[in-house]
Symmetry: none
DNA sequence: GATGAATGAGCCTTCATTCAT
DNA sequence: TATGAATGAAGGCTCATTCAT
């Protein structure tokens, strides 16, 4: 019944989203006009509105597409048994992503979403869940570490996990504002904190 | 010759700024219209434009006014000799501020500024310098601590300071998204990290 | 690919210009609001701004469109060999135009442009060149007349041409202020001046 | 009863008018804001509105003040018996005035009034009467000249007078647009036309 | 009278969205 | 489906005018 293959449809959607993301990363959601997206994509207004009902829906779709990204990063530490090694892997994956332009671009849009989350409940939920997942993951790692006696028993898994994620978020901010944060240097600092978590201090 | 006291002028300015800040915290810079500020302040368009040349200048002024706020907070640790005590004082001041509505309000606007910093060079400079100061302050504390043998000698003062500030920033984000972060709980987690910094592990 | 014929675009432009000209003739440039042009044209703000970037550009376009009009009028005398006959033809064409509503309308806008020329360099240049052309044309006619011995040799072609054009301009002014100036009467007066130019006095 | 001497009042009025005229000559009526007049005069809004009820009234007052000026100029030819000499005197006075900055300034405002006359009945009446007077004066001179046999009998006094005034108006326009018109050159051209008027051709 | 901060109607312009082709 | 000209509700800002001091 559909005259166009559904895959073509999805491709077009992707095309629009990519163009929109470029604009959003560059100018922010509210400074970006549909006209900008039209120019960036090379498509027409009608076409874009054929795929997305409104600008807000476009922003939503961007938020959706960003949603899963961090989970992938944080999954980096999932395969290790040693929680300290796991945290190191997560940190390395995370910091490495911040050195690549693609990662920065995504973070730029991400920061807009962080701010948008203050007003838009759907976005807030997405942003929050995008952080709850890593926190839960890390907390679980710490708990396992405590069972094995690698992590100090006074450590509060959930709180510490939250703090680690918070630190990553702050690093993102500083990176986006132009600070150059070398992975090796940051990893070394991270070691200091791991020392605090470790059972043997 | 001036029929109105010069202080009245500054008062009016303050009045407008306060109204604008309320709107900005609630709706963000770009969703806030001058009409909103007019309603919130109870003044007229002409009056507002008599004090601020444009909406952008209003945003700038808000950015200016927020600029010094953190410095005050971070000064909390300046009077102690013990760097660990100093850091605890800073953390307590910071976390305490996050429990008060005034603090949250300020942070809500702050988050908008963090995002705005991606596009506006002046704001970026202000935001960045607002973070450089605390980092320098904390780094200095750590350095003094190393001299006295309280802080572990392998700690990199600047990097560690940056990480601590990053953590605070991340906590702000999570708090703004609705997570309730109790001061005592957060302080306990903070202890874990202090343990990593301490000379005697 | 273009779904609308390119000529439709130009037609729409013309439509807007005509509406604007009506408004300008009636109320002047600065008393005419875009809202007026919207009403007069039956179009929308967005449409008008799709064809003209600003109100100033609309005024410019009107100035452009008026620019060539006089040249056409003054070309009336070009085909005669006899300079006196040529001048008569020019005068008749000019005065005749002043009797028609279309001509008056154009002159009304023209007078606004004359005033606008004091402040706008582009318009001044257009207005000035619109007068330089006729002056050059008439001067040339007089020169040819002197060679043939029809025009008195003491006549200064350029100065006399300028004076003739000046006279026409003054007539326009008086006509616009409501004086009824019959073509025949004016032609008769013109004869008096031609007599001054003529070789045989 | 009046606390301030009436002459002080008139002085202040004059002061405001002079400031307004400067602004109007420079920027035109509609581009000039009351704020501009305030700056130019060094007075306050309230003060200006104490002397003139509105901006329109200010424009009216300028129109009034300009009204008598030309009459003075054209009176230059009144004291001679010889109409040709009279016309020469008028022309010389007129052209001389155009060389002085004060004269040009007045004409700049005058041109705005010429345009304004299209919409404002009061101003039109003033502008028109300001031209009717000289026309009547010159026509009378020509009539007297005909009686004495100095002016050709076929000359139509009124029409010729109107044409002469028209010529002067056109010269004003051209001068205001930046053309430099030397008095001697223009007088020489004027002679040509006088020749057409003269009885002995 | 003089001052100038405050008013608010209204102006120019933008931009998300629609719809005939 | 895709196109892009047209729509029109708002938004930012100006400026003639007022009025408490």
């Amino acid at each position: 019944m559909p005259k166009v293959k559904p895959e073509t449809l999805a491709l077009r959607r992707e095309e629009i989203l990519r163009a929109a993301e470029n604009c959003f990363a560059r100018q922010g959601f509210h400074q970006t006009t549909i006209q900008d997206v039209i120019k960036e994509s090379g498509l027409s207004a009608g076409c874009i509105y054929g795929h997305f009902a409104s600008k807000d829906e476009l922003i939503q779709a961007i938020s959706d597409s960003r949603h899963g990204r961090d989970s992938t990063l944080f999954a980096a530490g999932g395969d290790t048994d040693d929680p300290l090694q796991g945290l190191r892997a997560v940190a390395r994956a995370f910091l490495g992503d911040l050195q690549k332009e693609a990662g920065l671009q995504a973070r730029r849009v991400g920061l807009q979403l962080w701010a948008e989350a203050l007003r838009d409940d759907v976005i807030r939920e997405q942003v929050a869940s995008g952080i709850r997942q890593p926190i839960a993951l890390i907390a679980e790692m710490l708990r396992r570490g405590q069972k094995r006696g690698v992590i100090h028993r006074t450590v509060q898994p959930r709180g510490a996990a939250r703090a680690i994620v918070a630190m990553f978020q702050g690093i993102v901010l500083q990176r986006l504002w132009g600070e150059s944060i070398s992975t090796s240097e940051a990893m070394q600092v991270f070691e200091t904190f791991l020392a605090g978590l470790a059972a043997k201090r």
